[in-house]
């Protein structure tokens, strides 16, 4: 059984094609149903985010799975296979697991360390588990990837620190005000930049948004689009007293708020902190405002400096995160190759058991004269003998880390014990009685 991955991501594919390969719009359930209908793979998970569309399957034949998945991908989205093929990447077994672990850990993301991806991987697995398209391999590797994601998040600083201006501003606001629910944000200037930051703050729970602009119509328009209240420009100073967070993003060439203006506002606020986020260029707020007690003033350069520092820190954590991934991939590889040995081990055990029963049946006439305890003992001894003979080879086989070598050994065993041959027919008739006797032995041992 192989783990096989076929997909596209922001690393290999332009956004126009990624959009067309997106599974989220029609729903993962539909995609999973369509996929399991047409592919030869026994297990499947579809991972679809705005940056990637990936198919994870467990299959016996990689080449068959490859052509199945390519066909499915093209057909499902109404594209030509030749159009899609050059952008695809594929991974097999440990390499596929490594890819999934890196994705879950945020190492393959556009912004390294972004935390949403782990939730998306979990959702993809949950959809597949709900649609019953997962089995022993994917049931192992996906939950494993959650562990990797969690380890990366807790053991490294890969996801730490804001890496965009808006997130940096929001993180600061939370550090000052704690919970942002019940806080009031005042946006001065109705430009794009102010809108973005306001949306982030809103996502963090801010409920009251006041928007003001020299042109009231602009303020009204922005207020409508983000769900705030427009405030006339002449009420600006009066409104300052009610706000906790102030975002300024006007095109004004002169400062619109001076130190003395803010100072007069602060007196009425009884020193409650006021957080100014000045993302305008040139600046909207006189730098001296930042000298006032209980006032925090951050301009766009300050925020950019934070972002830059955080990006540097994340980059420094990448190698540690990769180390965690490599560590887990090694463990997964061992699991996978141990799994490769399972059919051989099972066949070997069956073969030994058949021989044992066959011999016991053959000797039955001679054993019949013995008392029942002695017969039980004979059964037990032979069983233990077989078990002891098998235990070392089984363990040895399972502990081989390299799947290729496992296959070589498994082939050798199959050959040496003729495991792929039919079982000897003459062993069959006595089988039932032997099994019954084995059961008796089992029960007689328990008092």
């Amino acid at each position: 059984m192989h783990l096989f991955l076929l997909g596209v991501s922001h690393q290999t594919t332009p956004v126009e094609l990624r959009e067309r390969l997106d599974f989220a719009t029609k729903g993962l359930d539909a995609a999973l149903a369509a996929l399991s209908e047409r592919s030869s793979a026994s297990e499947a998970v579809v991972l679809s985010t705005c940056n990637r569309s990936e198919l994870y399957v467990a299959c016996d034949e990689v080449s068959a799975a490859r052509s199945d998945l390519l066909e499915f991908l093209a057909e499902y989205h109404g594209l030509e296979a030749a159009e899609v093929a050059p952008h695809l990447y594929e991974r097999v077994d440990a390499a596929a697991a490594q890819h999934l672990f890196r994705v879950a850990g945020g190492l393959d993301s556009l912004v390294v360390g972004e935390p949403q991806i782990l939730g998306q991987v979990k959702d993809a697995y949950a959809a597949a588990a709900g649609g019953r398209t997962v089995g022993p391999v994917l049931n192992k590797v996906f939950p494993w990837s959650f562990t990797v994601g969690k380890r990366v998040r807790t053991e490294t600083a890969l996801s730490e620190g804001a890496v965009s201006i808006s997130f940096a501003a929001t993180a600061l606001a939370k550090k000052i005000f704690g919970d942002l629910k019940g806080r009031t944000v005042l946006v001065i200037g109705a430009g794009e930049m102010g809108k973005l930051t306001t949306q982030h703050l809103k996502a963090q729970g801010v409920e009251r948004m006041l928007i003001t602009s020299r042109t009231l119509a602009h303020a009204t328009a922005l207020a409508e689009s983000i769900g705030g209240t427009p405030v006339p420009w002449q009420d600006l100073l009066a409104t300052l007293g009610r706000a906790d967070i102030i975002i300024t993003a006007t095109g004004s060439t002169l400062p619109i708020l001076t130190r003395s203006q803010v100072e007069s506002v602060m007196r009425g606020r009884r020193n409650r902190p006021l957080f100014f986020i000045d993302i305008a260029l040139p600046r909207d707020i006189e730098p001296a405002v930042g000298d006032l007690g209980s006032v925090f003033l951050y301009n766009i350069d300050d925020l950019q400096a934070i972002v830059k520092e955080n990006l540097t820190r994340r980059a420094a954590e990448v190698s540690r995160a990769e180390g965690i991934v490599a560590d887990e991939v090694r463990k997964f590889e061992a699991w996978l190759s141990a799994r490769g040995a399972i059919p051989t081990v099972v066949a070997l055990r069956q073969r030994f058991e058949t021989i044992r029963r066959h011999e016991l049946d053959r000797l039955q006439p001679k054993l019949a004269g013995l008392p029942p305890e002695a017969r039980t003992r004979v059964d037990e001894i032979t069983r233990l003998l077989v078990e002891k003979l098998l235990i070392t080879p089984t363990e040895q086989l399972k502990s081989i880390p390299d799947p290729e070598r496992v296959r070589t050994y498994a082939d050798a065993l199959t050959r040496l014990f003729a495991l792929d041959a039919e079982e000897p027919a003459r062993g069959e008739p006595g089988r039932d009685s032997a099994a019954r006797r084995a059961d008796d032995a089992g029960t007689s041992r328990t008092p």
Partner: protein, 275 residues
């Protein structure tokens, strides 16, 4: 016997420091566990001394300090559980270690003088110790508030920014602990006043009781503390939150500690009831 909790507090303190620097979750949990075990061991020690002496060991300064340490450990653990915030442990636990070592170095067995055989005594000391524990927490919270405030203000987001809760929640925790401490300080001082007045006219003559007046440094210290914390609470309504409240609670606790230990050992003539 008091060295067992001391050693556990010490080990917890080391782990809290390690947790503060590395922010490793396992180290954090272990530090909490160790502190809890220390507090439990301390409970046993105090319980056994109570059994041996027939009363809670709080008469002498040293014993009272140890009981204070125990209360502070419990109060801190409670705060940690309710706020899920263990960044302050690194500031609190060293205080536990320092004060508990006073007890460990001075293993006297308490004998209670007859004047203290009064139900007022337990209420008086217990309320004050609890008040002191609250003020200790308020002080530590205030210090961390100032540290974080300065980092954000100076735009050097670093060590404390990553490790401390928000300014708002620190301020809220400070307000709560000061209020709680103030309530118990008020109860403790009131009960002490009533009891002293009663004892002065009572059948037992004790020079220490006669010395109980505002002129005694220990009593004066307590009144000064009460005035500071009363002001701190009232001033919050006037906008003295945040940094100013933080500084006030640091000054207040400095006086509490000074009044508790050096004055308690060397200067008071009214409150020296044992080692």
């Amino acid at each position: 016997m008091n060295t067992i909790p001391l050693l556990l507090y010490l080990a917890a303190g080391v782990l809290y420091a390690a947790h503060f620097v590395t922010r490793n979750v396992t180290v954090g949990r272990s530090s909490t566990a160790l502190l809890a075990i220390g507090a439990l061991a301390h409970t046993f020690v105090i319980g056994m001394q109570t059994m041996a002496a027939g009363h809670v060991p709080i008469a002498g300064t040293t014993q009272a300090v140890s009981t204070f340490v125990w209360l502070l450990a419990l109060a801190y653990l409670y705060m940690e559980m309710t706020t899920e915030e263990r960044a302050l442990g690194v500031f609190i636990v060293p205080l536990l270690v320092a004060l508990q070592s006073l007890r460990a170095l001075n293993p006297v067995v308490e004998k209670r003088v007859p004047i203290l055989e009064s139900p007022w005594f337990g209420v008086h000391v217990a309320s004050l110790l609890f008040a002191y524990a609250s003020f200790a927490l308020a002080c530590v919270i205030g210090i961390t508030y100032v540290l974080l405030f300065k980092e954000i203000k100076a735009k050097h987001l670093g060590f404390f920014y990553k490790r401390l809760p928000s300014l708002d929640s620190l301020d809220l925790m400070n307000a709560r602990t000061v209020t709680l401490g103030w309530v118990f300080l008020t109860i403790g001082v009131l009960v002490g006043t009533i009891w002293a007045a009663e004892a002065k006219g009572g059948p037992i003559f004790d020079p220490r009781v006669q010395a109980m007046s505002l002129a005694d440094p220990k009593i004066l210290g307590a009144v000064v503390c009460w005035a500071i914390y009363t002001f701190a609470l009232y001033a919050r309504r006037l906008g003295w939150g945040g940094q100013r409240a933080a500084y006030l609670s640091a000054i207040g606790f400095a006086i509490v500690l000074f009044n508790f230990v050096p004055i308690g050992y060397f200067l008071t003539r009214s409150h020296n009831f044992g080692g």
